[in-house]
């Protein structure tokens, strides 16, 4: 009993620090969400849940919540499948293995500001390189960054392009831990590449895929910089996701109260999805290999 008390005592400074840097801002956010406040400091009038009521009547906010989910799903789909495919190809240990592994990291090391500007210029319809290729092939230039229907998906691709190297490296690391003897045994038993993947590879790297999925979800849902630096949520709110709208409310429209309410809702969504992800999709064990 005494040693447990001692343990808690020793943990207190760290726990206080964690509380200070995580819980305090959340408490402040919840408090601000109940106030009518322009900047989040100075005088604020208590207005109860009015900010939340306003948000749910605000079609831009409701649209932003929906778009955040679609954004996350599209990103997850790409960010889980493509890295896995690339990792499987690279795992063949060809002579270009090392070079390719280094080259593939380039998008990951680039800062998002650079990525945003580079892609904006590449996709520019009149003088951009991509449209130069498209028009040279005899097609009309494509309005990648200013289209109501297309821009959202273009940004998903750019965001995924940035994430794919990281996912690939993690999956490659996981693949390298799968013992070759299991594949040899499966080959002896007559299992082809597909069956080897389903019954050996996938179960053994399942935990990493799950982990990559978790990171991809959190990072995608919270994407702000790419969208803000390319479209600022436009055209006509077509790329307005929750983080972008929260920023716009706070620092462009000076409504820190409503922005805090939106941020709290966003936090609840993240916690909710996180709990579901952990309880429903958490891999049981990474060492079991199913029998074909």
């Amino acid at each position: 009993m005494r040693s447990r008390f001692k343990g808690f005592l020793l943990l207190t400074p760290v726990l206080s620090l964690v509380a200070l840097i995580t819980i305090l801002p959340i408490v402040n956010m919840i408090y601000n969400s109940l106030l009518k406040t322009q900047f989040g400091f100075g005088k604020g009038e208590f207005i109860g849940l009015s900010n939340y009521v306003k948000l749910f009547n605000d079609e831009v906010f409701v649209g932003a919540v929906g778009k955040s989910f679609i954004w996350t799903l599209e990103n997850l789909l790409i960010q889980l499948t493509i890295p896995l495919l690339i990792a499987l190809l690279l795992n063949k240990q060809t002579k270009f293995y090392r070079v390719t592994k280094s080259l593939i990291l380039i998008p990951w090391v680039l800062p998002m500001v650079v990525i945003s500007i580079v892609w904006r210029w590449l996709l520019e319809p009149n003088i951009g390189f991509v449209n130069h290729l498209i028009t040279n092939m005899g097609f009309e230039p494509v309005n990648f960054m200013g289209s109501l229907n297309l821009t959202f998906h273009v940004l998903v691709l750019i965001n995924s392009w940035h994430f794919i190297p990281f996912g690939t490296i993690l999956m490659l690391a996981a693949l390298s831990t799968v013992p070759q003897s299991l594949y040899d045994a499966a080959k002896v038993d007559g299992a082809g590449s597909f069956k080897q993947f389903i019954y050996i590879t996938f179960p053994l790297i399942g935990k990493i895929i799950w982990f990559v999925g978790l990171l991809a979800f959190m990072w995608s849902f919270n994407t702000f910089d790419l969208i803000w630096l390319t479209t600022q949520g436009g055209p006509s709110n077509a790329t307005m996701t929750l983080p972008t709208y929260i920023y716009k409310l706070a620092f462009k429209m000076y409504d820190a109260g409503r922005s805090s309410a939106a941020a709290f809702i966003s936090t609840l969504i993240l916690i909710g999805v996180g709990v579901l992800y952990f309880t429903l999709l958490s891999p049981k064990s990474d060492t079991e290999v199913k029998q074909p």
Binding site: N143, S147, T231, Q232, S236, F251, Y254
Partner: protein
Amino acid sequence: MKKVLFVSIVLLLATFIMAQTTIVFWHHESPAHRVAAFQKAVELFQQEYPDIKVVQQVVPWGDAWTKTLAAIDAGTTPDFQFSLPELTITAYQADAIIPLDNIINEIDEKYDFVDSQLEPYMIDGNYWGIPIWTMPMVLIYRPSILEEYLGTSEPPKNWNELLLAAQEITLKSAAEGEKIYGIGLTAGNNLCTQEQVYTVMANVGVELFDEDGNLTFDSPETLRAVEFYKDLFKFSPPGATGWAWGEIEMNFSAGKIAMMPYFGGLQKRFYDMGNYDLDGAPQPFPIDGQRGSLTYPNDIHIFKSAREKGHLDEVYKFIRFIMRPEINAIFTAQTEPGSFVPITVEAQESDAYWNDPIISQFEHLNRVIVNEINYGKLYGFETGSAVNLAIGGISGGNLLAEMIQNVVTGKYTVEKAVSETTEKMREFIEE
């Protein structure tokens, strides 16, 4: 003896350092040549006032609002800051700045401010920002393109001529497989779009508020201006729905755009390229409309922290120094020629400004720009002073840009876009 000498030198140095006052200011002009111009003025000031050390800190425009508010909250504001009317209003609303009537009156008497450029800083009977330079929009154009496709280098003077010229250039160049567009207009969700659309709105007298601060945006004039912008936009390059400053400037410089309502700041790029195919004219307006454009005065506001630290005298000295016409030319002609324009009559007439190599190279364009200040307004400040402080949020929320996006993408009709924007403005005012 050596020891005595050493101690004396140390004491002397310490006295000098202790006697020196350091004042810190923020500005948001991050390009290297602008930072260098600011530093040049700072060094000249320090030569004249060796007891005052001036430190410039660059906070890019993208971070200006967040960092200003964070600094106000944390009590870490600099002594003063270069600003725009909306940022000054924000700082005023956050109760962080002091009124500047005395220094403004003093400078006005000496150098004569252009009155219209002072007005946006008048809030509740006091001036809260002192204008340092201004940024007028004019119709800038490539004379060679006009010559080639219209057979004249004479720019259009009214809306009809502008629309026809834009159409003719676009269609003729397309027929030749050139893809040059008659007009450069943006419709991205950003300040650039707001500035261009307001330039068009000013030609028919659109007002966001009346003298009492009541919303008057949903008017026949606004509908007419938005309709015209929509028509003109057809002759702007594809993709302009996502454009901001970078794209439009690059397209214009690449010779893909013939004309555009814009600031004169491309002069430096053209000068550096040795390309002098650039000129400007007053913004065309309808025959039954009025000459008008957008002017964006840039100011300095002084934080309360300067007063608390006892730095006010030093800050005033610095402001008096940079408002001298020959020094002010560093902040205009040398910082961003053509874009940053003198705001006092004395500075507008000074040789220091007109003898600058870039300004003199594009003298006609710059004469047009300086003259246009007399016809310029800023949205939300049409009747003079800051009559409705909701303009900060309305401008920051990019409501005008969003309205234009909704129109040019075909999401809404002109009527619906204008009425929806008016509703949003009303929400801001009520809040």
